[in-house]
């Protein structure tokens, strides 16, 4: 009991000492000039993207699971606001997002479910987050995140939520790496407050090519 109290006092002292530093660090300073220039360039490149299709590998390290979860599949994006996520392994699963409606299918149940993001806030917030990273509109995130350039080649940014940003309640840091031609993302790495991590890598990305209609189907056809 006494040990817990001492720990609490130490923790409180550390928090009090760090508070001014944290406050100073969180002032809404704009990104450094080179960072901003590169961000703008990437934003311009990504603004020209109307469709994208890519293979992906998503590695999730979640406290809820005994082992790392490796998810492989194909992603399709079409502006504005369409996203299809077809998983091949560890099981067949599809998720198609069309504006605020989400349809899900999995081979196990072989049933398609439809849900509204407004009515499932946790799923809604999570998907909104991903849409943000896929969109490329990073300059507008300056108010919500402290943005730093981690490396120029390959170009990689780090986004840390500012105080007051609701994402900061569950996200610690997001790192986004770009392809050598900076036309799209090659990797997104997210560290959550609870220690869970998500590492999403895109391969064989094709930009502005025609996406087959079946990609938007949520079910066994779409996932082929």
């Amino acid at each position: 009991m006494a040990q817990i109290t001492v720990q609490k006092i130490r923790l409180l002292a550390a928090v009090l000492l760090l508070c001014p530093l944290a406050w100073a660090a969180d002032e809404k300073k704009p990104a450094q000039a080179p960072t901003r220039e590169i961000l703008s360039q990437i934003e311009k490149n990504m603004a020209g993207i109307t469709t994208l299709s890519a293979d992906f590998v998503q590695e999730k390290n979640l406290a809820a699971f005994q082992n790392k979860l490796i998810i492989k599949g194909k992603i399709f994006l079409a502006q504005p606001g369409r996203l299809a996520w077809h998983v091949d392994s560890p099981m067949k699963y599809s998720m198609v997002l069309d504006n605020a409606k989400v349809r899900q299918w999995d081979a196990d149940s072989n049933q398609t479910q439809e849900m509204s993001l407004d009515r499932t806030p946790a799923v809604g917030m999570a998907i909104e987050q991903m849409k943000k990273w896929f969109s490329g509109a990073y300059s507008s995130l300056e108010n919500d995140y402290r943005i730093s350039l981690l490396s120029e080649k390959p170009t990689e940014f780090e986004f840390i939520p500012r105080d007051g940003n609701s994402a900061g309640k569950f996200i610690s840091v997001v790192k986004v790496r770009f392809r050598p031609d900076c036309r799209y993302i090659s990797r997104i790495f997210i560290v959550e407050k609870n220690g869970d991590t998500t590492d999403l890598v895109f391969n064989e990305a094709q930009i502005n090519t025609k996406i087959p209609a079946k990609a938007w189907q949520c079910g066994p056809v779409g996932s082929q």
């Binding site: 992906f56 809820a64 998720m95 407004d118 806030p121 987050q129 995130l141 108010n143 959550e192």
Partner: protein, 795 residues
């Protein structure tokens, strides 16, 4: 020498003193009146039925009437939601006391997972016996496998583990009903809102919604004006690509008052110009302007007396000032015509006194019948009109003759009373009139009363257009009906609400939204928790632990995956208080629970449809204090109250009229003749209002009664004239007084406010046809009926 002659001559001898005193007094009253408190509350013109009054007061005093909705929209297609949010945050930050007490637009920065944990601890207190029964059926291997499979699949989504973290706290989805209810309560006012960037965002992601609380009541027009000015100033600081729409009851109050003020100015100006022109052209004497100024001064005096008596003046009553001037100038016209022909002696005026007083008494008696009405505005109008008429009558009889003099052109042969000559075509005249009456009365099937309060709203097109745009973006046009459960304490109100809510939900179904499930009374909460605890302690918790462990293994869940759920299974004592402190819950309670003068009210919502309103009304039988408020039933209540009002007032005025007519004429036949203009005016109303699409609403009812009162006046004068008991110039004076009354009423046709316009239309159509009937039909009918009765002809 009669009393009248003595008083008349006394004023004549002291006229300089009397007129000087009157001028000074008028000036003082005018100054005092400019400082009087005016209001433009349209509900003054609606019946004071206790139920109706309570519904209206409830809507006014609940937060609904004191909120302001501000919608910020992107005007530039190239701008993003993030930019709009930034501008919105600056706008929200700039708002503050004393005019804005709180702003809801961005949601509090809460930790969604921590909130869920708090709600999960409170959840057992909301679980009733059927929930527990349902839960019991879920503690089996199959269901747990199915649930864990769903949780596992969340990991396959392209996102962070937030959804999964949610499921780890609530693997059985026990909070689903709780959050569904919260969601439905949040959307209970019908706005189509989604939450993005932590803000209330429209479906098209182009607009933000802010709900502002203000201490300014919408009935406080001066305060409303200050509030709107303040908001305009704040929205003008927004970037050029953001446009603001401000929607609130305050807009209506200010707009209505502005329109009424303009209407009063224009109608008064129009009446002044027309009256002065008519009097000057008709009489070619500068003194004729006195016939206008005298009733105008009488109206000013009456307004001042009413302001002192009622503590304020309604713009709607003052707006009828032009009509009252048009009515009250009749006495001056008759006196003027007589004096111009016969001179200002008391003996010339004396024959006029009886018909003038009779006419004024009858008009006053019609207005007096308004005191029997349940509409407070009618009482004020009655007082205003009666005082104006009496003052003007006194001025006309005792003061006016002393300023006038006999016209040089007065003809000696008109000194003697003479019966009307018999023109040809009386029979055809009456035939045409009967045909007109038949046509008008045929339209009775289309004539009905409109109780729609919205039709009394005279807000400008700009205000209504902004509201339409707002509803196009956010929905919420169809407001739900409200069930209001009351109690002397919050807990008692919650208990009543829970009881009514359960019954209403069973009767209405999904459409019913209330706090009954989220917030039962303390007793029920304790009972629920005991049941929950017994359930889990009876071995179910261990059973579930085993199922989760076994079934979770196949999906690869770690042994600690659902530890948080089991850790929070038995809630602490403060779970309820902690849940009430959560911003989400706090916000709901602020919106749905009110305390007023020690009485608590809990609100629930349901679709405002007749069948549901009827069912909920039945549930309220035997539940004292609780009530329902429905926009549609308010209209119906107004219709029902006004209909009974019309019947009561009609009977009262009819009785007054019959008595006075019999006293005046002592002949049923003559009384029937005098009634012809009344019948004609009413027939015109029945025929013309539906034909021109003008609604017969509560204010139009009083106009109809004024039509009755004035038309009976014309009937009496014309019967006197026909009997040749009055000088022939009386006929000319009756023409002129009828013309000025119709002109006064016609000035209201220039009004933009629907209340004044509908009063104007009712008066003009009723009076115009009443006057025509008085002038054309009464003498004709008199000749057809009485020509062979020498006794009456020579009277």
């Amino acid at each position: 020498m009669s009393l009248f002659e003595r008083a008349f001559n006394f004023i004549g001898k002291n006229k300089i003193i009397v007129f000087t005193a009157l001028a000074v007094l008028t000036g003082l009253v005018g100054v005092g009146l400019s400082k009087a408190r005016f209001d433009s509350d349209v509900f003054l013109m609606l019946p004071q039925d206790p139920g109706l009054q309570r519904d209206i007061e409830f809507l006014r005093e609940s937060n609904f009437s004191d909120t302001v909705a501000v919608s910020l929209g992107l005007e530039d297609a190239g701008r993003t939601l993030e930019e709009l949010v930034s501008a919105g945050d600056v706008f929200q930050g700039a708002l503050g006391a004393p005019l804005v007490t709180s702003v809801k637009g961005s949601l509090p920065q809460t930790d969604i997972l921590a909130d869920l944990a708090v709600f999960m601890r409170y959840l057992p207190q909301t679980f009733d016996s059927s929930d527990i029964e349902d839960l019991g059926s879920k503690i089996n291997a199959d269901y747990i496998r199915q649930r864990l499979g769903a949780v596992w699949r969340q990991a396959l989504m392209p996102s962070v583990s937030l959804a999964m973290s949610f499921s780890r706290i609530d693997p059985l989805g026990l909070s689903a009903r709780f959050f569904k209810t919260v969601q439905r309560l949040h959307s209970s006012l019908g706005y189509d809102v989604s939450v993005k960037e932590n803000h209330l965002v429209s479906k098209d992601d182009r607009h933000l919604l802010y709900i502002l609380q203000t201490p300014i009541r919408m009935t406080d027009v001066a305060g409303s004006r200050r509030l709107l000015e303040y908001l305009k100033q704040k929205t003008s600081a927004l970037p050029g690509y953001v446009k603001a729409l401000i929607v609130c009851g305050h807009n209506h109050s200010v707009s209505n008052e502005d329109i009424i003020k303009k209407d009063i100015f224009f109608t008064s100006a129009a009446v002044s110009v027309v009256f002065l022109a008519v009097f000057l052209i008709f009489f070619r004497d500068w003194r004729a302007v006195l016939m206008f100024f005298m009733p105008a001064v009488a109206v000013v005096f009456a307004a001042a007396i009413c302001a002192v008596f009622w503590g304020r003046l309604s713009y709607f009553i003052v707006g009828l000032g032009a009509v009252i001037v048009g009515i009250a100038d009749d006495y001056g016209i008759h006196v003027y015509s007589t004096v111009r022909q016969r001179g200002p002696a008391a003996s010339s005026i004396a024959p006029l006194v009886k018909p003038l007083i009779s006419a004024a008494l009858i008009t006053c008696s019609v207005f007096a019948s308004f005191f029997l009405s349940a509409v407070k505005g009618y009482h004020e109008l009655a007082m205003f009109a009666i005082i104006s008429i009496i003052i003007c009558l006194v001025f006309s009889i005792f003061l006016l003759p002393h300023i006038l003099k006999r016209s040089d052109a007065a003809l000696e042969e008109k000194d003697a009373p003479a019966p009307l000559k018999k023109p040809k075509g009386d029979f055809f005249r009456v035939l045409i009139w009967l045909a007109f009456m038949a046509v008008c009365l045929a339209g009775i099937k289309n004539f009905h009363f409109s109780g729609d309060v919205l039709l009394l709203d005279g807000s400008s097109a700009g205000v209504l257009a902004d509201e339409k745009k707002f509803h196009d973006i956010w929905g919420g046009k169809n407001k739900p009906a409200l069930l209001v459960a009351t109690g002397s304490s919050e807990d008692q109100a919650l208990a009543v609400n829970a009881r009514l809510g359960r019954l209403a939900a069973a009767s209405i179904g999904e459409g019913f939204i209330g706090l009954d499930y989220l917030l039962p009374s303390q007793d029920v909460r304790q009972q629920n928790y005991r049941r929950w605890e017994e359930f889990w302690r009876s071995g179910r918790a261990d059973q579930l632990r085993v199922f989760i462990k076994n079934e979770g293994r196949r999906f690869g869940f770690s042994s600690a995956a659902f530890m948080q759920f089991f850790g929070g299974l038995y809630s602490d004592k403060n779970a309820y208080e902690q849940a009430r402190e959560q911003p989400l819950f706090k916000n709901l309670c602020e919106r749905f629970i009110y305390e007023k003068d020690g009485s608590w009210q809990v609100l629930s919502f349901f679709p405002d449809e007749e069948k549901y309103v009827g069912r909920v009304a039945n549930l309220l039988v035997g539940v004292p204090g609780s009530f329902l408020v429905s926009g549609k039933s308010i209209s119906k209540k107004i219709s029902a109250t006004v209909n009974s009002e019309i019947a009561r007032l009609s009977v009262a005025s009819l009785v007054f009229m019959v008595i006075l007519l019999l006293i005046c004429f002592r002949s049923i036949k003559l009384a029937v003749l005098a009634f012809i203009p009344v019948a004609s005016g009413l027939a015109a109303l029945v025929g013309l209002l539906p034909f021109f699409g003008v609604s017969f609403n509560a204010p139009a009812v009083i106009a109809a009664l004024v039509v009755v009162g004035l038309n009976i006046d014309y009937g009496i004068f014309m019967v006197y004239t026909a009997k040749a008991e009055l000088y022939p110039e009386t006929l000319r004076a009756t023409f002129l007084s009828a013309f000025t009354t119709v002109a006064g009423a016609a000035s209201l046709l220039l009004a933009k406010h629907p209340v004044l316009y509908s009063i104007g239309f009712t008066l003009v159509s009723g009076l115009a046809f009443g006057c025509l009937a008085a002038i054309l039909i009464v003498p004709a009918m008199y000749r057809l009926w009485f020509i062979k009765v020498p006794k009456i002809q020579s009277a």
